[in-house]
């Protein structure tokens, strides 16, 4: 198994981050590193706007990067679980 990096775009709301982080523990996955920032420069996030057909405003969403070591099946499962969270706009693997 190799380490994977997941990119998660979520609403910058109180409690949203802890749902993602909590999910790893609930489902028995391990977090190896974690980085989160509010999105200020929207230029790099036009793909989110296009994919979801929405307009983002500065600071409205956060970008979370999580590293974890899992196999392909589990990775798919984790991404589906994260995407299911109500405050998550998008979760995918960084290739």
């Amino acid at each position: 198994m190799i380490q994977r990096k997941l990119s998660v775009i979520l609403e910058n709301k109180p409690g949203a981050l802890v749902r993602v982080v909590g999910l790893f523990h609930q489902r028995g996955y391990n977090i190896e590193s974690l980085h989160v920032d509010p999105v200020e420069d929207l230029n790099e996030y036009r793909f989110v706007e296009e994919k979801l057909n929405i307009n983002l405003k500065e600071g409205e969403v956060s970008h979370l990067i999580i590293a974890t070591t899992v196999n392909d099946n589990l990775l798919r499962q984790i991404l589906r679980q994260i995407n299911k969270l109500i405050d998550v706009l998008m979760a995918e693997e960084i290739k």
Binding site: L10, V18, I54, N73, Q77, K84, I86, D87
Partner: protein, 578 residues
């Protein structure tokens, strides 16, 4: 219209069409309770323990398909509701839980009756909200109902700090008529390509089984499932959560599958070449050892929840969407291809299944006995109830052997009539759930089939039934033990009954029921069984508690062999393994 926060909250519930709110008051919820007092559209049901409120709301939701609504105070009120929230979460039941909270300026100070309800409930809710400001109440309530009822349903908590419900600050009230959450878009219509692939696999199959679960009930897809099978005439099995979605008395019905499923249902799944899973999630009580599950089957999986598909068993064809809609599309396509369906192809398979059924199917006669030299068999109790009610009653249940006997021997022809905690397996669920179902359907028979262990976990709700005159029937299958635990101890622990019996400490249930103002009936002999149950069920305007003493040594069979067994590995009785 200008309203204060407390009135906005209640008015929002009324706008959502809430008929009943199940709850228990306390300091942090008192502003809200004052608003309840001032209105007439919605009835508040005062339970005797917050767990009862959640299960009652849950029972209401399962019976009607509408969300159940709960109101509790902060701290202990909120934590008492947790078991019921987890129960609803595991079975995907729409529920709104409003919890009082200490005022915003006190949050984080360990104030009196402060608990981080959002934190405590996080792993067992579909979503949760904190009311940050009174103005947002209508929007939050609207979103909460939408989230609870759409996609894969589930419980939603709204935590309400006391200051946001203060009666002295008024706000403009306008209930939103639309809701759009940009980060939440559950799938609705299936992908036509997947529908085509599913139909091709259906037409090709020689040994198909339809495996339908609670998701098919949640999606109100019973009618579509029946229509589909008018075309296909395939064997159908239902999970514990799915009972009733396909008629149990239909010739093609195999019975329930899984841990205590029928021989023919489990054998059919194991030997199938195609499994059509409809709103079912391949729970471990269904698959037994996943690696050994249905080795030759192609899997079509219809579900609204992406994360349920290929979680345990890899699906060959995944169809995401409301299963009702997915079934409609499959039916449409199949109707156009009728000439390709060769019903002769599955004749040998049907023959094989009917052989399995006659070899080791449930034996109904075996348990019926009229003479008093034999103890009453628990299965007979359920069979009599089935016959007396002609299969038309709402049956709620608790957890244990009695629950499995109810699932096996009460044959449900309609969805939403069987109400039990399948996922969490919560003892104490049955009585309050019956209250919720009875409030929703006052003219229908609502029967709680329970055990003397489970009933004592929410027995206090007998008092609620008195207050609101809820004439449900409670059938206590009394084996004087935590029967299911004892069965496992018999089978796996050399019969060492560690903490599974009560050593003559059981109450006199007849007197207990009477002290709450109900009718109690005790049945100890086979010769009294049928007439006793008939009498109890003929009383329409009173709650009747029937305490039936049954054979304490009976086990539930079939039972899957675990660990390391497959679906074809079953105990058929105390001595026989497949």
């Amino acid at each position: 219209m200008k309203l204060a926060g407390n009135d906005m909250l209640i008015q929002s519930l009324i706008e959502e069409g809430v008929e009943y709110i199940f709850g228990y008051p306390g300091g942090a919820a008192l502003h809200i309770y004052d608003s309840i007092f001032k209105q007439k559209e919605m009835e508040h049901i005062l339970v005797r323990h917050e767990q009862g409120a959640t299960h009652a709301a849950d029972g209401y939701a399962r019976a009607t398909g509408k969300p159940g609504v709960v109101l509790v105070t902060s701290g202990p009120g909120a934590t008492n509701a947790i078991t019921g929230i987890a129960t609803a979460f595991m079975d995907s039941i729409p529920m709104i839980v409003i919890s009082g909270q200490v005022a915003k300026h006190l949050i984080g100070t360990d104030a009196f009756q402060e608990t981080d309800m959002i934190g405590v409930s996080r792993p067992i809710v579909k979503h949760s909200f904190t009311v940050d400001s009174a103005e947002n109440i209508p929007e939050i309530v609207k979103q909460a109902f939408y989230i609870a009822t759409s996609g894969r349903p589930g419980p939603v908590v709204i935590d309400v700090p006391k200051d946001t419900t203060a009666p002295d600050k008024l706000f403009e009230f306008k209930y939103p008529n639309k809701v759009d959450i940009r980060s939440y878009k559950p799938p609705i219509e299936p992908d036509p390509k997947q529908i085509e692939r599913a139909v091709d696999a259906i037409i090709e199959s020689k040994k198909p089984v339809i495996y339908a679960g609670g998701g098919a009930i949640n999606s109100n897809a019973s009618e579509e499932l029946r229509r589909l099978n008018e075309i296909l005439d395939f064997p159908v099995t239902n999970t514990l959560m799915g009972l009733g979605v396909y008629p149990a008395t239909h010739e093609r019905f195999l019975g329930m599958l899984g841990m205590h499923g029928t021989y023919q249902a489990n054998m059919s799944m194991h030997n199938a070449d195609l499994i059509i899973a409809i709103g079912a999630r391949f729970d471990d009580r269904i698959t037994n050892t996943p690696k050994l599950f249905a080795p030759n089957a192609k899997i079509i999986h219809l579900d609204v929840d992406y994360s349920s598909v290929s979680k345990i068993i890899e699906a060959n064809i995944a169809v995401f969407g409301q299963v009702k809609n997915s079934l409609k599309e499959i039916i449409k396509l199949l109707e156009g291809k009728k000439e390709l369906i060769d019903s002769k192809k599955i004749i040998p398979w049907k023959k094989q299944i009917s052989d399995w059924k006659s070899q080791h199917g449930l034996n109904h006669e075996m348990h019926l006995c009229e003479t008093d030299d034999q103890p009453i068999m628990p299965q007979a109790v359920v069979q009599h109830i089935y016959n007396i009610t002609k299969g038309k009653a709402f049956i709620t249940s608790d957890v244990g052997q009695h629950q499995m006997f109810a699932a096996q021997y009460y044959h449900f022809d309609e969805p939403r009539k069987w109400i039990n905690s399948g996922g969490l397996g919560t003892m104490g669920f049955g009585l309050p759930a019956a209250m919720g179902a009875k409030l929703a359907y006052p003219d229908d028979e609502v029967i709680c089939i329970t055990g003397e262990g489970s009933i004592q976990m929410c027995i206090q709700e007998l008092s609620t039934c008195t207050q609101y005159n809820l004439p449900i029937k409670i059938i206590n299958i009394n084996n004087e033990a935590l029967g299911m635990v004892k069965q496992w101890q018999d089978m796996n622990y050399g019969g060492r009954h560690s903490a599974s019996t009560y050593q003559s400490s059981l109450p006199n249930f007849v007197e207990l029921a009477e002290s709450y103002g109900h009718i109690g009936i005790k049945i100890e002999k086979n010769s009294e069984l049928k007439s006793g149950l008939e009498k109890a069920l003929s009383i329409k305007d009173r709650l009747v508690f029937v305490d039936v003493y049954v054979d304490p040594n009976e086990h539930v069979y079939p039972m899957l062999v675990a660990p390391n067994g497959s679906l074809k590995d079953m105990w058929l009785d105390k001595e026989t393994k497949t």
